[in-house]
Symmetry: C2
Subunit: 142 residues, 2 copies
DNA sequence: TTATCAATTAATAATCATTACTCTTTGATA
DNA sequence: TATCAAAGAGTAATGATTATTAATTGATAA
């Protein structure tokens, strides 16, 4: 998602949500992230800029982003939830050793989803494709 | 999974786990289930037969079944976790209205997984394919 | 610009699924 | 039948998330 403050402000206003510096900060961080951050990760990052920000604000902004369809929540076997701004059809490859998550997109994935969709009468509301695989870094350290 | 007490008892013994009536009851129920029950559902069911059983025992038996690779845990946006004895490659179709889950298996799904696997160097440790779709029952009630 | 006020925030308490702990009971072995 | 580690029941603790509350602030219009 290529996002900037201007776009975000328009989005919020069009939905009747107020624009606050906390929201802009959180949204920018999450929407630009590629590591599927947890709420705690988002919180500790935004805290650098807004010293007094509360976890509740982070959770509420996450809920907003979900409602607006800009991120999805990943519920993995390992709590806590992680958040994903990549709204393309893709596979999340999760390393069970270090819990890192990386995106995988390919023709195979895309075609699968199109075929599945048509098999299911084209009324799929959402999807989540997870695969567990030891990551590069973890497979190096013996 | 076609399971009976005899098979279960062998499995437990081969792993050095003790065979208890509570375990047999829980395992039989979960392994025969097709509705992806939650821990609470399993608990309330087994409680009919073993009045004094504790949730802790249910959770510990679930952990055993996971460890033995007989079930998988599904973490959906809706807590609590659900458990799935179907170890074939399949899609879980989740209804966001009533949280019912049904299995979907097809050529498309199977081929996708084989192709993905080969694209990822054949070392996938597990997978989870979720799709959200209003179920029959819910789409009927307007 | 300033007043107004509902929406938002920070701080904190509550919730609830899951796990840990402790003490009692029991299955497996000899 | 005795032994004892493993497993059970009951209960406390944990931890992520949500709810609550009182203070603050963004949006609007005078
Ligand atoms: Mn992703
Ligand atoms: Mn299933
Ligand atoms: Zn790793
Ligand atoms: Zn339904």
């Amino acid at each position: 998602m290529d996002i900037n403050d201007e776009k975000l402000i328009k989005l919020f206003h069009s939905r009747g949500f107020k624009v606050t510096p906390q929201r802009l900060g959180i949204c920018n961080y999450v929407l630009k992230s590629t590591d599927h951050p947890s709420a705690e990760k988002i919180y500790s990052n935004i805290k650098k800029k807004y010293k007094t920000i509360s976890r509740a604000t982070v959770y509420k902004t996450i809920a907003l982003l979900k409602e607006m369809g800009l991120i999805s929540e990943l519920n993995l076997n390992t709590t806590p939830s992680r958040y994903d701004p990549n709204q393309n059809i893709h596979v999340n490859i999760i390393c069970p050793k270090c819990n890192s998550i990386s995106d995988y997109e390919s023709e195979v994935v895309e075609e699968f989803f199109l075929n599945l969709k048509s098999e299911l009468d084209n009324d799929i509301l959402g999807q989540n494709l997870d695969v567990y695989k030891i990551c590069e870094t973890c497979s190096k350290k013996k």
